[in-house]
């Protein structure tokens, strides 16, 4: 049986790469979309050797939203599964004073991913099949002083995915929202993360694969569904005085 092809937007990130290997290991051909795509020739070769699947590289810049239509048009084949892993943590303290930093964070986590997924969703809708996965974050569930610019952009993305899912359900297009908590990646390398609540990229990849296979809607990593359930119900009067 020929496996469905998978488009991974932002495949160079640790989570993106882990997802690529996970789907390739099940025999899915991959389309890897990143900036300076030619620099990932070795990654393409590695995945092809390890998993004996076809991998193609595609130039993609999430911030260049006016190129997204063309990007989708120029794909050699419309993928069955599209996974958006793009994200930017940025610097909260910088974002508070530097409007350009804040805009970059918001565009990288919300505007760019939503734009590309909107275009892909319309194509999937027309075809009458497909799966869309967005990697959001628990940071989007409640704004905190330490990362609310990142968090609010992820909140926007989560809401976008939720609405898209609502619209697409009757069109046989499935939308998965992956909500990771802490993950050991390049992005969080400088942070001290609690062992018990921290996942590895490969764990996230396994969750994404399982969610696509079993058509789950929203998936949290490790204990984060429960942690966020508690954090969400803390009254704002208390929450505003807390430092979490």
């Amino acid at each position: 049986m020929i496996k469905k092809s998978v488009l991974i937007l932002g495949s160079r990130s640790d989570i993106g790469l882990a997802i690529a290997h996970r789907f390739a290991s099940e025999g899915h051909p991959l389309q890897l979309a990143i900036r300076n795509a030619e620099a990932d020739e070795a990654t393409k070769t590695d995945i092809e050797i390890r998993h004996a699947v076809k991998v193609t590289l595609h130039e993609f810049d999430v911030l260049a939203t006016n190129t997204h239509q063309h990007f989708v048009d120029s794909l050699p084949e419309m993928p069955e599964i599209a996974i958006c892993v793009v994200g930017l943590l940025g610097s909260q303290s910088l974002s508070e004073h530097d409007i350009h930093e804040a805009i970059k964070v918001i565009r990288s986590n919300f505007e760019g991913p939503s734009t590309i997924l909107a275009i892909l969703a319309n194509r999937f809708e027309a075809r009458g099949s497909g799966t869309i996965v967005g990697i959001s974050s628990v940071a989007g569930e409640r704004g905190r002083a330490t990362n609310y610019v990142y968090g609010s952009s992820k909140a926007g993305f989560t809401a976008f995915l939720s609405g898209l899912r609502n619209r697409m359900t009757s069109k046989n297009v499935h939308v998965v929202t992956m909500v990771p908590g802490y993950v050991r990646t390049k992005m969080t390398r400088h942070l001290k993360l609690p062992q018990l609540f921290t996942s590895d990229p490969v764990d996230i990849a396994n969750l994404v694969y399982a969610a696509v296979a079993s058509r789950k809607d929203i998936v949290y990593s490790k204990w984060w569904f429960w942690i966020m359930a508690i954090i969400r119900i803390i009254p704002e009067r208390l929450f505003k005085q807390m430092s979490l």
Binding site: T45, D46, I49, R50, K186, R189
Partner: protein, 440 residues
Amino acid sequence: MHLSGWGRFPYVETTLAEPREQTELISIIRSGSSIARGNGRAYGDSAVNPETTIHMKHFNRMLSFDKANGQIAVEAGVMLADVIEVCSPHGWFPPVTPGTKFVTIGGMIAADVHGKNHHQHGSFRNFIDWIDLACANGEIKRCSPDENVELFNWTVGGMGLTGVIVRAAFRLRAIETGWINQRTIVAANIDEAIDEFEAALDTTYSVAWIDCMSRGNHLGRSLITIGEHAKLLDLKAGSSAIPSMKYGKRQKAIKFDFPNWALNKLSVRAFNMLYFWIGKNKPRDQLVSWDKYFYPLDSILGWNRIYGKRGFSQFQCVIPLTNARSGLRELLNTISQSSEASFLAVLKRLGKQHGHFSFPMEGYTLALDFPISRESMELMSRLDNITASHGGRINLAKDSRMSSNLLAKTDSRAAIFHNYRVSESINKTFSSNQSIRLNI
């Protein structure tokens, strides 16, 4: 951070660098003293540097795989297990493998690992086509048996002390199946064991589990397992030629430290008796999967934790052929009369010595694990002396505690290597806790 080798002794405070790009790696090398680290399976302190330890986990891509001729080129952090997973379905197997598949190719080169076929095929070096080495000056140098030969010779078995291995290519062995025809031979004592090894020199693989607790006439009683790659004709109809390998899924793992008292003379003696009894009574000839044959301990992830928080040390020596019988007898006598218990003891016939600084020499190698204690340290230094007086040497990939005196006494090549490192001005750039301790 606190970092150790597989034996969890000693722990060393180090800064762990995890470069992703070659340029990043080079700038780390040029910024001070460092040592490369693969999957941390060297037992002692070979892959920790008190300043910077360079974890090569992000250099884990396979670069090419020639299915027709059986050559694979990989980045240094690629795991042997992954090579087997990719190559075995195409009829290729590692030409040499240590007792675990969770080692990186870079680590295998640095320790010039040997396997159960050393008496036939030698160590890993014989199959390496080329190595790309990040040198002290930041240059990436290709070295091979024909190019930068001196550098190649010191790099293979050089314990990471010539530079950081970035990429390498090596040749694989053609196999028809992933099964091994295994024969188990019972030897009542060490003399019989040696006779059996000498009689099996034409067999591809041989290794013995040896009971270090038995004494007298049974001193060194052993179960020798010899093996050959099975042919397709050896398989029963319907069984797959390549047993699948889905490690990491339903695998047992030890997730806590055993209390220190769990391994004692009594429990180890009971284990040894049971193991010997089972080995004696199982069928003499069996067809076993490569995973079970080569990597029995890999089926229990984290087995190093059974030694408890104190950690353990593996004593591995080789005694040259001419002194093997007397040397092994003296070692075994000393061990069986001590109060220390070794849970795992392995005996193996090695072939000829190759390379500038590799461990193997023609003779017999004995490997034993001891939990760390003052008594076991004393015992191991007694074993050191027996090794030295019989002209043998200690395996650096396992060592965490020998003295620089002992190394100088047992291996005259260490001083030559040291001088080479000084003359090339790389001794300050690349060093490990071990190389500092042993003055390499």
